[in-house]
Each structure stands twice: as C-alpha cells, then as structure tokens.
C-alpha cells in the first residue's frame, strides 16, 4: 500500500506521470481519489471547488483499479480489459458550467441553484468512458462572465500563488484569473492532475497563465459543446488546464471529434495520435524553419515590463529551437476587444433568456396569466413581472450588466451600429489572422477587399507601417503574452469590479491578448515560461495557431515548453533567454507549496 505522501506527490504530477505510477502499482486510483478529496477539503479557503465530491468518483476509481488488477492477472476473466487510456484512474476536475449527472450544475449562478441536469456533457462523458475519475465541479465566474474568478454566487476564487517580490505592496492573495478560476487553482494546488474548463474569450488561457499552468483552447468546434452551459455560443469552446502540453494533447485526443449532439462540432484530427506518440518518446527540440509571428499590435502599453521582457526572452528561446521570428501585422487587434464585449454580451442576453423561473432558474414570485392569452393575472402580476423578478434575483451584478448591454446591442434600431458592426470587426480580425497564417483563400481581382468585408466603413485600429501592401511569408504560429501582467492582487480586482465600480471596464483589459484568437475561432495555448522579475509570479506566453491547426500548435508548444524547461534547469547561468525565463518541475511545485502554506495560514 502506497503512502498518502506518494498519492499527494502523484496528484501534483502530470497525467502521464500519474499513468506510470498507476501502472507500476506505486499508487492506486482509489488512493488518489482519497487524497484528492482530503486535499480539496483542506484547501477549501482557495474556494476552487463548488459542491462536494461527485457521486460517480468512488465507483470510477474502483473500476479503474479493478481493470488494472484484471490486466495484471493476465487479462483474466472472459472479458478483455478495455484498451488502456492515459487518463484511466487519473483525477480530473470539471468546471461548473459543464453538466454532469448526480450533482447540481450552477455555473456559479443563483439562477441555477439546485439545478440537476438530466444529461452529461460530451467532454465529461468521453473522459469518463476511458476511465478518468471526475472529482468535483470547480468555481468560476458566473456563466463564464469574468476574467478574474470573482463574479460568482460562490464567491471569489483565490490563486495559491504568493508574490515573491520584496515590496510590501505586492503582498496579499492573488486573483486566480477567470473564468475557469477553480479549474486552474485545482491543478495549481495539486488537487487534480488536470481540469476541464471552457474558454470563450480567454477563460482557460488566462487563469492558466496566472497559475503557472498550460491552458489550451482548441479550435472552435473541435471539442463538442454538448453539456456546456452557453455564454456566447459562437465563441464558447471547451478547454483544458494541465501541467504540460502533452497532457493537453492527451485530453484533446480523447475528447475531440464530431458529436451528433452539437451541430458546430467538427471531425477529429487524425494527426493527433502521431503527435502524442512523438511527444511520448521525446519532444523535438528542433523547430527548424518554423516561422513565429510577433504582432506589434500586442505590444500595448498595458503590458508590464516583466511580461515584455519574458516575451522577448521567449522569442529568443524560439530562435534557439531553430525557428524564425518575424513581425506580423494584425491591424484590428485593438478593435477586437470592443467587438468581443459587444458580441459576447449580445449572445449572452439571448442564451440567458431561459432563466425565467418557469421551468428552472431561480423561482421568483409566481406569475399569473389571463384567460384571454394575455399576461395580466388577476392579482396584477404578469408572467413578465415574474420573469423579471426571477432574473433580478437570480443574476449577479456582472451578468446583469452584460445582459443589459447585450440586449441593447441587439435592438433593431441600433444593431447595425453595435452587433452587426462588431460582427464585421470579427470578420476583419479573422482576416488578419488568415493573412498572417497564409490561410486566406485567394480571390481573383485586385482591390484587396477580401473576406467579403468592406473595410472602408471601419476606422478602427491603427494599421502598422508596412502592414498594407506587403505580402510577408506566412507564419506557423503567433506568439504573444497571454496576459498583460501577472496575477493582480485580489483586493485590487474586487475594488474595481461591479457592483462596487459600476462603470469599470478595467477588468476587460486583461482579455486583450486572448480575445482575438477566440473571435477568429483559432486554437491557442498558454504555456508558462517563468516567474516575473518584479512580482515573482508566473508568466504565460500564448501561442496561436491557424484555423484547425491544433496539432501544429501543440507540436510547437511542446518544443517551446521543453526549451523553457531546459532554461529553467540552467538556472539563469545560461546565456540568451536564460535568467529571464525558465520553467521546470521545481517552478510548478512552488504553486503546490504555496497552496499548502495558504492552508496552514488559515
């Protein structure tokens, strides 16, 4: 029987390491589950989880152990064990906007208090079918609306990371990032191996960057949305938060592919299997000839010094791999944020219309209906009043704000000025990326107005010099910081967010780096590259791939991750990027240690 320490240590490792620990018998799935449960309870103050351990967890762990025992008996019995999966017996957390039977799904909203879904999300189903032990649901911003994990009925989520800078002003609990806040904290604090989250405008990448983890948003449609409580349906993707790129690829491999229950789902990419094999053997350190694009537009004033320096160092690390770093122009980047904060609330106002208290949702006062088909009841309460009451009580301040903004933006009189305009910007943003990746379908004739969008009506964003007319060679990936800064102090975030600061859009700026890829439906991944020179907190770099270029993106991310790991072990002594960046196992362990210190300080 393995010690609980061994189980704890395994929990803090990758899915692949877990798989080998389970395979060599040094730990069992049931032990992992027991330790994860204990750890979850001990780290309650991080507020990463909502509700208890899922009722299916114990059975799943026992079944996994039984499969291994049967296999060890020489595949005894008349039934052959299912093909071994890298997640069989591993402990995985699920964001609370993904439905799983046997437990409420609240999406951190009072409007869904006590709502028990009658079905299972496809992503959770596909993981459970190959043996993953789904531990519990994780805290989030209400319906995914938020970048800091503070807007939810369950309260703010807290990052386990503590600032390592010297100044007093840096001290204090850090924001976990959002909206998949709990999903990131659960991994960072060593409670689970990996989490399933969702990413609409950066919701897995952002908390992953703040917590020193890999956050992967697949191309739109690659992983089925069935069972994902919608926020902005045209942007919503299921995403993964893991300890390394290979784990992200593993989860992709298991969950990707067309789903008859989601009309926007697309076929699986068969190249994923080959990628996994190559990652399993030995990641390539050579990305010779790969072109890495650097968009000047992302070098905004919001980017902090430490992040900017890490960005430069990461570009040098790419060159170390043999890649060619070159400038790309994404001229509509600045407008992307405004477009996102028009489109997402607009769709949200529609997707959240169902929470009217009639079938589910927070029961408001009972509405009456007149017998002539009107809505006036004899006691003067209309069904509209009842819905209004249910929604007023059911939604939090940030959700209300976005629903109001979105409702306004879709008004018939003004939709052309807001929603439709934002959709045109969105097409332009996608165009920018397609241009950079060389994936834009070439149309005959000059004029340059490709993509069916008329640029003349849009005076948005600055066009970088040389960005027009030049036809630079296409790039394979684009590299930007994931966030302009490291994780902000929780108290600062709370001070500037609704309802305390009603007009504030400051929090939206955190999404400036992640939103463009979402608008274009592109795959993007945040990879930890080091600790900030000033704050000592994790910095994530975002790699963006071409549409459906998930495998290429993950290939490059794995190489970069390996290079950054080697820089980490060089310990700053090496030349080039070393000293500024570097991320190895010992860095990841800092988060787990911090979580323990956090719990001890309680």
């Amino acid at each position: 029987m393995a010690s609980s320490a061994a189980a704890d240590a395994t929990l803090a490792r990758t899915l692949r390491q877990c798989a080998s620990s389970l395979a060599d018998g040094s730990v069992s799935s049931s032990e992992l589950l027991a330790r994860a449960s204990a750890r979850l309870a001990r780290l309650r103050s991080l507020n990463a989880f909502v509700g208890g351990i899922l009722p299916s967890a114990a059975g799943a762990a026992a079944a996994s152990d039984a499969r291994r025992a049967a296999a060890a008996d020489g595949g005894g019995g008349d039934r052959a064990p299912p093909p071994s999966s890298p997640v069989d017996g591993a402990v995985v957390a699920v964001k609370d906007n993904l439905v799983v039977p046997g437990a409420p799904t609240t999406a951190s909203s009072r409007a869904l208090r006590g709502y028990e879904p009658p079905m299972i999300a496809t992503v959770a189903d596909r993981l459970a079918r190959v043996g993953a032990v789904l531990l519990a649901k994780t805290n989030m911003d209400e319906f995914g609306m938020g970048s800091h994990g503070v807007h939810g009925v369950h309260g703010a989520c807290v990052s386990p990371w503590m600032a390592r800078g010297q100044e007093e002003t840096l001290r204090g609990p850090r924001c976990a990032g959002g909206s998949s806040a709990g999903a990131a904290v659960a991994v960072a604090a060593g409670v689970v191996h990996a989490s399933v989250g969702s990413d609409t405008g950066g919701s897995v990448r952002l908390p992953a960057a703040y917590n020193g983890l890999v956050g992967y948003k697949p191309s739109y449609g690659v992983v089925s949305r069935w069972g994902l409580v919608p926020y902005c349906a045209s942007l919503d993707t299921v995403g993964f938060i893991t300890r390394d790129v290979a784990d992200a690829a593993t989860l992709l491999d298991i969950t990707q592919g067309i789903d008859p229950l989601d009309a926007t789902s697309v076929d699986a990419d068969p190249r994923t299997t080959r990628l996994l094999r190559s990652l399993g053997s030995r990641p390539s350190f050579h990305m010779r000839g790969w072109r890495v694009g650097v968009p000047a537009e992302y070098d905004a004033c919001e980017v902090s010094d430490e992040v900017r320096r890490a960005w430069s160092a990461t570009l040098r690390a790419c060159e170390d791999l043999g890649a060619i770093v070159c400038a790309v122009s994404l001229p509509h980047t600045r407008a992307a944020l405004a477009a996102y904060y028009t489109i997402a609330p607009a769709e949200a106002s529609s997707n959240l219309a169902r929470y009217d208290g009639v079938r589910f949702g927070f029961g408001g006062s009972r509405g009456g209906l007149s017998d002539d088909g009107g809505i006036l009841s004899d006691d003067g309460i209309t069904s509209a009043d009842a819905a209004s009451d249910a929604r007023g009580k059911g939604f939090g301040a940030e959700v209300k704000r976005r629903v109001m903004v979105g409702t306004y933006a879709l008004g018939t009189e003004i939709t052309s000025a807001y929603f439709e305009r934002a959709m045109r910007v969105r097409a332009l943003v996608a165009d920018d990326f397609a241009e950079a990746f060389g994936t834009k379908p070439r149309r005959g004739g000059g004029g340059g107005g490709g993509g069916g969008v008329d640029r003349r009506n849009l005076l948005l964003g600055a066009v970088a010099p040389g960005g027009v007319g030049a036809a630079p060679a296409p790039v394979d990936v684009i590299l930007t910081p994931t966030t302009p800064t490291t994780a902000p102090l929780l108290r600062d975030v709370l001070a500037t967010s609704v309802p305390r600061s009603r007009a504030s859009t400051a929090a939206f700026a955190a999404d400036v780096m992640t939103v463009p890829a979402s608008l274009a439906g592109l795959p993007a991944i945040s990879v930890p590259v080091g600790l900030g020179a000033d704050t000592g907190l994790p910095i994530g770099m975002q790699l963006i791939g071409a549409a459906r270029g998930d495998v290429g993106l993950l290939t490059f991310a794995a190489a970069l991750e390996a290079r950054v790991a080697s820089l980490g072990s060089e310990g700053g002594g090496g030349g080039g990027a070393g000293g500024v960046i570097g991320w190895g196992a010992e860095h990841a362990a800092l988060g787990v240690d911090d979580a323990d210190r956090f719990a001890a300080a309680e």
Partner: protein
C-alpha cells in the same frame, strides 16, 4: 429598417407602396369586388349608393400561415411530433431548453420544407440559408427565443394559384408568396382563471415546443373574405398533396393569421393593418375577414378612422365578431440575430432536383390536365379536392374509362355514397377503379343504360356482387341493353296493342302522352331497351308509319 419592411405583410413602410395585385393574374374576375380594378371601375353597389360622391373602400389582405410539418420528430431534437398526447409526454432537454443543449436540424423537415417551397413555385430556393433567433419572453417559449429564419428564408418569391369562388366571379387568381421559412413551434398554455380565493394560473404543455413549422407569408394580394378562404383551402390542398402537413385548422397544424387593412379605392398607401387570429375553419376565416373589413370601413365612414389601430384581434366564433386581443403600441423588438448553434443550411441543385423528382403532381397541374380532358369545372374542383380521389380517377381513366362518364359517376353517385358511408374511403371501397372503368365503358357503349347503371351501382359499391365485375353482373342478371331494332319493335308493338285508348288519344292530338308510352316501353323491357333507339321506333309507330 430593411428588416421591418421584409416582415411587413399588409402595411410595410410607406416607401414600399405598390402592391402586386394584377400582374400575375391568370383570369381576372370582374364581378363583385374581387380586385382593386374591378371595384374601381364598377359603379357603387346599389345598397351603398348614397350619393355620387360616396367614397368606395377596398380591403388589402395578406396572410401569414404557419404550417406544422408532419415529420415524425421535432425540428431540432428526436422527440415525437404528435398531436394530442398526454401533456409534456414528448419533451427532452433540448426542446425544454435545458442549458448545455443544442439544436440539431431534422433532415426530414428540410426535405418537406423544400418540397413546399417548390410547390409554392418559389423562384428563390436558397442553396444556403441561415437560422436566426427571434427573442421574446413568454412561458410557452422554453429558451426565451424561437429559432427561425429572418434575413435569409429558404424560399422567396413564390405564387399560389387560387380558385376564386363563383360568387366572386370564379376563375383562378395568382396570389404572390413573399417568403417561406422554417421555424419551431412554441408550447401550449392552458389558462385557469381565478376562482374565489384561488388565484388564477396557467399550465404549460411543451409537447408542441420545437415541432417544425414553415411560415408562409403571402403578398397583400387578397381582397375579400371568400378569397382568403379560397387561398387557405388551396394552401391546405397543396400541403396535403405534398404530405408535408396534416393541414388541420382545428388541431392547429395549420394556422392562418390574416392582416386586414382598408383604404379608399385608388389610393396606393395602405391603411392601418389589423391582425386577425384564431379562426378554426376556412368558413370562419371568410366571415372574420368580412366582419373586419366592414368594421374598419364603417369606422372610416363614420369619421372614426383613428380608432383603427395596429393590434391583434381574435375571432369570437360565438359572437361572430373580432375582439381586440392586444394592442401593438409597444411593439415587441424581437432582436433577431444569427443562431450561433446551427451552421447554415446548405444543399446543392442535385438535392433540390431529387426533392422535385419525388413530388407528386400538384393541384394546379391536375386542374389543367382535367380541363384539357373536357371535364366540367365543378367536377374538376370536386376531384382535385382530394388526392386519393384524383388517384382513383386517374386509375379509372387509365383502365380505359371515358373521362367525362367517369368524372360524372365519381363526383355524383359515388361521392354521395362515400359521404354517408361509415369507415369506407375512396381507397378502401370495394369498387375498384378497373371495375368502374368497365362500368363507364358499358354505359358509354350503350351496353347498359344509365338507368341500369344507377340500379346496379349500389351493389358494386358495397361489394355485394361476390367480386363479380359490372359486366358479369349485367350478364348474370340479364340486364344488358336491348339494341336490336326488331326486338324493340316487338316490345313497342306489344305496348301499343295493350293501350289502344291512349293510342287513340295520342293520335287525336294529345302529344303529352308520349312520355307515357316511353315509360311503358322501358318498363316492358325491364329498363333494358336502348333509350334512343326505342324512342326512334316508338315515334315511328305512334305516327302510324
């Protein structure tokens, strides 16, 4: 605002004021007030002719019809689409709008909708159309929005040839079809008013929620209640022929919302439109529309035109009047936007051709074909009303029956029999089309007389002939017509011999007795004598030749 124009059926924005009324008409009826021109040219009706300067009004009417598609399952989930089940029996997380559920478009619905678009002669069948969300809060709408098609309906610019009632001049008019689009139905609320201390409440049944509809919007080409009813009837005929809908008004599988406005004859701009709902039959539609036209005209005549407001009125069958249901002053903003959960609906020409190839012959084509056969109009109408009747008739003439003879018997004695018969339809009655063909041919050829035909038809209809066909029956019962002049002569001679008194009177100038002798001859032959021949011989003998 282009959107608003597209939605406006009867009274679009003032910028778009030319209704398409006459351009496509095939036969223009110039009786009554069936068209704008007709009214304009005609003198005022006598009853209304109060003075030479009396202003004449005409109604401008457009119809929005919701046709429930009779697919096995709902539009976006696998729930059965059936009428009359126990409440909420056929629901699932998708049609109940549970969070995390998404719609999947039913291919059968698409196929039927496209068939309907082709049947409506839409010149535009979009190879790529998109879905949108129409948003409003109401407890019968599970998601808080309805999946519909707004900017890009799958079908546009169609037409429907409508048979105009004889009272309105008869003939056929072509009514423009603005658009046809796919959408989903809402649930059904049942209201329970307050009783004493118990507050009122409503119960929701979502069996209907998510059932596929095709909404068909007509151009404002209609003018009278009877035309409206005729349009509805023709549309129902079409959907039933195509088997895309049950077209049942009382069960709600076909629902017509009629937009009525009134304007002085000669004015182009539309009056204020009023929507009239809840008619359970075409007859009720006709009466509701005429009532509404009269109501609006009277208000304008009385100088109270401002009392006509944009509103929805419901038809009160009991009181035979329209009643205001809700005013549209605070007109709902449906905030349409593209449905992100459904990719565009895309299909190629081959698909459309395939649907077309499977489509049956439609009423308009059948009418033309029957007219070419020389069938009288009223027989054509009766036959075309029922697809099964058409199939039977076609099989009968294919089996060699003379068309007029077959139409005559089918729409006469056979329809009368079926009307009263229980549990028997044209498709299940024992008289098969080949037997009817034989029957008709025998009459046509003079093998039996029409009288004998009438006598033996009931036995053939109920199948009391032991499977024997008309000819066998006729032979067995010895009923074949006597066409041998010698044989008839003998009968005539016998009749004259037996009635010497009457013969004398006749020859004395009492011509009316001719009928008496005709009857006697027929009776003496057991009804078998060839009427024309016996008539000829009788006349000769009576004249003493």
């Amino acid at each position: 605002m282009a959107h608003a124009c597209a939605r406006g059926v009867v009274a679009p924005a003032p910028s778009r004021v030319s209704p398409r009324v006459s351009g496509r008409r095939v036969v223009v009826a110039r009786v009554g007030t069936s068209s704008a021109e007709a009214s304009a040219k005609e003198a005022p009706k006598k009853s209304e002719a109060k003075g030479a300067n009396e202003v004449q009004f005409e109604a401008v009417i457009g119809i929005e019809t919701h046709v429930q598609i009779n697919s096995n399952t709902k539009a976006f989930c696998r729930c059965a689409a059936v009428y009359g089940a126990e409440p909420n029996r056929h629901t699932c997380p998708v049609c109940l709008g549970h969070p995390g559920t998404y719609p999947i478009l039913n291919a059968a619905v698409v196929k039927k909708a496209i068939a309907l678009g082709i049947g409506l002669d839409c010149s535009v069948i979009r190879r790529k159309s998109t879905f949108d969300r129409k948003q409003y809060f109401y407890p019968d709408l599970p998601k808080g929005y309805q999946i519909s098609q707004f900017d890009e309906p799958y079908g546009e610019h169609g037409k429907l040839d409508v048979v105009i009632p004889v009272e309105d001049g008869g003939g056929v008019r072509t009514i423009g079809i603005t658009r046809a689009h796919i959408e989903e139905d809402a649930g059904k609320l049942t209201h329970f008013p307050a009783k004493g201390n118990e507050p009122g409440y409503a119960l929701a049944d979502y069996n209907r929620a998510g059932v596929a509809l095709v909404e068909i919007v007509s151009e404002p080409d209609l003018r009278t209640g009877r035309e409206v009813a005729a349009y509805g009837a023709e549309l129902r005929r079409l959907v039933r022929y195509l088997d895309v809908s049950d077209g049942n008004l009382s069960e709600g599988s076909m629902r017509c919302d009629v937009n009525v406005s009134v304007r002085p004859v000669g004015r182009e701009a539309f009056g204020t439109k009023v929507e009239v709902k809840n008619m359970n039959s075409f007859n009720a539609m006709s009466r509701a529309v005429d009532f509404e036209i009269e109501r609006q005209t009277t208000l304008i005549r009385d100088g109270r035109g401002d009392e006509i407001v944009q509103e929805t009125r419901t038809w009160d069958e009991g009181r035979q009047r329209t009643v205001s249901m809700r005013k549209k002053e605070g007109l709902a903003d449906y905030r349409y936007f593209p449905e992100p959960d459904l990719p565009p609906l895309v299909f190629d020409n081959a698909y459309v051709d395939g649907v077309k190839a499977e489509m049956p012959e439609l009423p308009a084509a059948i009418r033309a074909r029957y007219a070419a056969l020389g069938l009288p109009d009223d027989a054509v109408q009766v036959l075309v009303e029922d697809k099964a009747l058409v199939e039977y008739f076609d099989a009968t003439i294919a089996a060699g029956a003379p068309a007029k003879q077959a139409a005559n018997w089918l729409t006469g004695d056979i329809m009368a029999y079926l009307k009263n018969a229980k549990d028997v339809t044209i498709s299940t009655m024992p008289l098969r089309s080949k037997d009817l063909a034989e029957f008709c041919s025998m009459i046509e050829n003079g093998e039996i007389s029409g009288k004998i035909g009438k006598d033996i038809l009931p036995d053939l209809l109920v199948g009391e002939t032991g499977g024997a066909g008309p000819r066998a029956i006729v032979e067995e019962r010895g009923l074949s017509q006597i066409s041998d002049p010698a044989e008839i002569e003998a009968i005539v001679d016998k009749v004259l011999e037996e009635n010497p008194g009457q013969l004398e009177q006749y020859r004395g100038g009492k011509d009316k007795l001719k009928g008496f002798f005709v009857g006697k001859v027929l009776a003496a032959s057991g009804g078998r004598a060839n009427p024309a021949l016996s008539n000829q011989i009788l006349m000769k003998k009576l004249a003493g030749e």
